[in-house]
Amino acid sequence: MLKQIEGSHAVAEAVGLCRPEVICAYPISPQTHIVEGLGEMVKSGTIARCEFINVESEFAAMSVAIGASAAGARAYTATASQGLLYMAEALFNASGLGLPIVMTVANRAIGAPINIWNDHTDAMSQRDCGWIQLFAEDNQEALDLHIQAFRLAEELSLPVMVCMDGFILTHAYERVDVPTQEQVDAYLPPFVPRQVLDPAAPVSIGAMVGPEAFMEVRYLAHAKQMQALELIPGWAAEFRRAFGREAGGLVRPYRTEDAETVVVALGSVLGTVKDTVDELRDRGVKIGVVGIACFRPWPLEAVRTALATAKRVVVLEKSLAVGVGGIVSTNVRTTLGGRATPIYDVIAGLGGRSITKASLARVFADAIADSLELTTFLDLDRNVVDRVLAHEREVRRSGPIAEAVLKEVGVVAARIG
């Protein structure tokens, strides 16, 4: 059924249709509307046979999800930003134990400086924690990915993170097609756990493993993620047949047929990138884009194939590995190892900075002219940075950096974007 609703509510409806049995969450912007919606649905009985557990922190939220999943319940939670970091230890436990929890991450920056706006630093900080990470391009895909995520998680017995851009998607009203309960039931079979804490057939989960077996257990976790790479395209195809639309998969090329320049990006910025690519195509520029739908496991072969004929690659990403540069671009460099193709890394949209078509067109033009620096910060105010650095050189007690930058930037209340 077509609806014009907020992204958060679209996700809440999708999760509800997946018949979760335990939902536990601690509220944090911009995730709050999702769990509020689910709380209402559990209370009203819209979601039957489900317990909504209020917890005192994100660490508790993930711990409850672990316990619930180990007891054989279909478990769900959601978080963002500092909340994801507060779960970090439990995240490794969930994946290390192989528990198929599904979690929404409403992507948001990490402080300090404190910032509630969108970027991908939170999800990227946990990219190696053993969870599958899927990124939604729009609210329809955010909705659809949750349905796929439960299937994927339970088939593989691995936890799945569905990443959607905080505010940009979670707080946007747009058209979504909400499937019927019958459609979702047909795609997502009931949860049959591979391991379960059952008094009738007691097992222990979470053994201490010494040097004699730890490597093997970790290898199996890796092997399972590699296996996911084989299975994800099939499930996405099955989803397309059942629901009549594209969602998920590994990578999604757009206008890359004869593209000399290929942009690699993930999340909601793909929409703005595609509009920019269309305008450049109208002017005869051979440019395309590859959207990364699945970031973990990293779809190395699929990315390599999608970039096979590119003469240059621009990786546009909303995260920064301080001291390195891009994170997605590091993965792309590994993928294209041995090729002379220039890979330009464009860090954009940190802490909610708007990513506009005009800025993208400019940076793509610089890439096409091969005049772009290998690592570029889109719309960085270089003058402000230089003044702050100059002050630091002059004054020993130069003071806190965030405050100095704010002072240099001046009043922003009058700005629109």
Partner: protein
Amino acid sequence: MFQIRIHGRGGQGVVTAAEMLSVAAFREGRFAQAFPSFGSERTGAPVVAFCRIDDREIRLREPIMEPDALIIQDPTLLHQVDVFAGVPRTAYILINTTRSFDALGVGEFVSGFDAARLCTVPATELALKHLGRPVPNAALLGGFAAVSGRISLESVAAAIRDQFSGKVAEGNVAAASEAYRHVSDEIREAGHA
């Protein structure tokens, strides 16, 4: 694509206005996208919300920097926030006020604009009359329907009833309907002037 930017203050239902507008457009079979400029969620703080309407899927996620229509829910913002940033001369402008563009001190700025696209409506007064609360958002959507002709009053009323129920819904629909008539009359007068 038709792009609307709404300026107001926290507590005036700016974000809800953009959302209801998107629902109204959706009800007419169009694609619509509404989103707020996120930030200080404080009562009284300047707030901006955006709505795009198109006949095809909307992929663009940048803020609306060159709006086709501007709705100003609070005229005290006129000299505090750069509400006219990027507004072209072809734009529709609707201000919640009992005063004129000249009296508000923006007459000079809009001198080259199409007079039939510049409207004021006492939305706060209409909200107080029909709703008993000074929340001008629904009334302004009625006024927007009249000045722009981009959406029908019926769709606006339906979107209001989706968002609210009972007396609040009906009060808002009444305020929107009166604002629609007010702005329609205003345009007619501008045409005769």
